[in-house]
């Protein structure tokens, strides 16, 4: 499934199959990327840009931050030697067409999200209803954590929610399996 080609003069090497397939510490420099670009057809590179834009949009709709490793593995693949160019073009396209900005929220682990460039408007419902409710719950939890100096015990958080009638044991009308929502989904969304 993965390519094992060696790109001549591209200034990096591919690791073994599996997780090391995309050795992130050896990304090509800007001038290397420009040289590598010349060896690719415009159409092929543009195709990768489109795929990346779609990939980012789909991931963002699920509100899951996007890892660079996933981008490389699932979209960029053998075009890794021009990765930075593809990402830059995708970022520009997202801004020009969608008014969205690609932001790196974790520069160490290279994790991205999309945020809207557009000014906030009053009373706008960008989310479906159950998403808005989940967001409300998340904000309440975060406020509680903040008030407690950022590291309350799990039990304190659940006690707080219990007083708001949101309990881990029962199935909540709107949120469903609350424990799962909080411990899995919210944590996954960072």
């Amino acid at each position: 499934m993965s390519q094992r080609k060696r790109s001549k003069g591209s200034g990096f090497s591919q690791g073994d199959d599996g997780d090391e397939d995309f050795n992130l510490s050896q990304m090509p420099t800007h001038s290397q990327v420009q040289r590598n670009l010349e060896r690719r057809s415009q159409d092929q590179v543009n195709q990768k840009v489109s795929e990346l834009v779609q990939f980012l949009l789909v991931k963002d709709q699920k509100k899951i931050p996007i890892k660079r490793a996933d981008i490389l593995k699932k979209v960029i693949r053998e075009y890794k030697d021009v990765y930075s160019e593809i990402v830059n073009r995708a970022g520009r396209t997202l801004q020009q067409v969608f008014g969205l900005q690609l932001v790196e929220i974790d520069t160490k682990h290279h994790i991205y999200i999309l945020i809207s460039n557009l000014p906030r408007a009053e009373g706008e419902n960008l989310h479906r209803d159950n998403q808005t409710a989940k967001l409300g719950l998340l904000i309440i939890i975060l406020s509680f954590i903040f008030m407690k100096g950022n590291s309350p015990k799990d039990s304190a958080v659940w006690e707080f929610l219990r007083r708001l009638r949101v309990q881990p044991g029962e199935r909540h009308e709107v949120f469903g399996d609350v424990k799962k929502l909080v411990t899995e989904e919210f944590v996954r969304q960072k």
């Binding site: 789909v58 709709q61 699920k62 008014g99 969205l100």
Partner: protein, 235 residues
């Protein structure tokens, strides 16, 4: 003629449509007006389709499009943001696991090949037992179906499942080419039809809203193709 530039009004419209996946016509018209108001862009009343064409000209290099289609349940126009590249199951591929995709494909088979365009949960559960990728237990199937409904690939009614309008709009070309003669086209509007009424004599099918519209003006309902008496209840 060159398409107009994207403005923030277009971008806002696109962002909102994207978060909904699909929007009913009157909702879309309201949104068009609102976006123009917020960003102080000239609002051409009744020119939603032109507004959307501008957006589409910029989406085209990305193999995406805002497409208009009809809901099979109420006949109303809806707008959906669709992916044009390749076969459409691949778009879902980044969201679902392999066996979930297999379940979806098999459910779609059931729905498209059925008379009335619906698959019962019992039938779908039976499919899950025979998945080649990885079997699914009943609880898991129920959960996956719920996600498919939330994500607007399927619609549910009384424990039965059909394709969501958004799915039909997005996957119409794929369905017609994948199922060929086994997928029907409506005799009136010539679009793909999933929930159809069928003529008992000659076998042509029609959307329920198309049936309603067509027979409204007639004293005696007769098949537009073979002229035999139309035996189904007019919706």
């Amino acid at each position: 003629a060159m398409a107009a530039q994207m403005t923030d009004a277009h971008r806002r419209f696109l962002q909102v449509l994207m978060s909904h996946g699909i929007m009913e016509g009157s909702e879309a018209r309201k949104l068009h007006r609102r976006c123009c108001e917020i960003h102080k862009v000239y609002y051409a009343h009744d020119k939603l389709d032109d507004f959307i064409s501008t957006i589409n000209s910029h989406l085209q290099p990305l193999f995406m499009q805002i497409r208009k289609g009809m809901s099979e349940s109420d006949g109303r126009a809806h707008y959906a943001l669709v992916n044009l590249a390749e076969t459409e199951i691949t778009k879902m591929a980044s969201d679902y696991t392999e066996n979930e995709l297999e379940l979806f494909r098999k459910t779609m088979d059931l729905i498209v090949l059925s008379e009335n365009g619906f698959a019962s949960s019992t039938d779908i559960l039976n499919l899950a037992d025979q998945l080649k990728t990885k079997k699914m237990k009943k609880k898991e199937v129920e959960q996956v179906l719920k996600v498919f409904v939330e994500d607007k690939w399927l619609s549910e009614r009384n424990g039965e499942y059909t394709l969501h309008t958004r799915c039909i709009i997005e996957m119409e070309q794929y369905i017609l080419s994948n199922y060929q003669d086994m997928a029907r086209k409506c005799n009136i509007c010539h679009s793909l039809v999933i929930q159809s009424q069928v003529c008992e004599s000659c076998g042509i099918g029609m959307h329920l809203p198309c049936v309603r519209k067509y027979f409204r003006a007639q004293t005696e309902p007769r098949c537009p193709q073979c002229n035999d008496f139309w035996s189904c209840d007019i919706p």
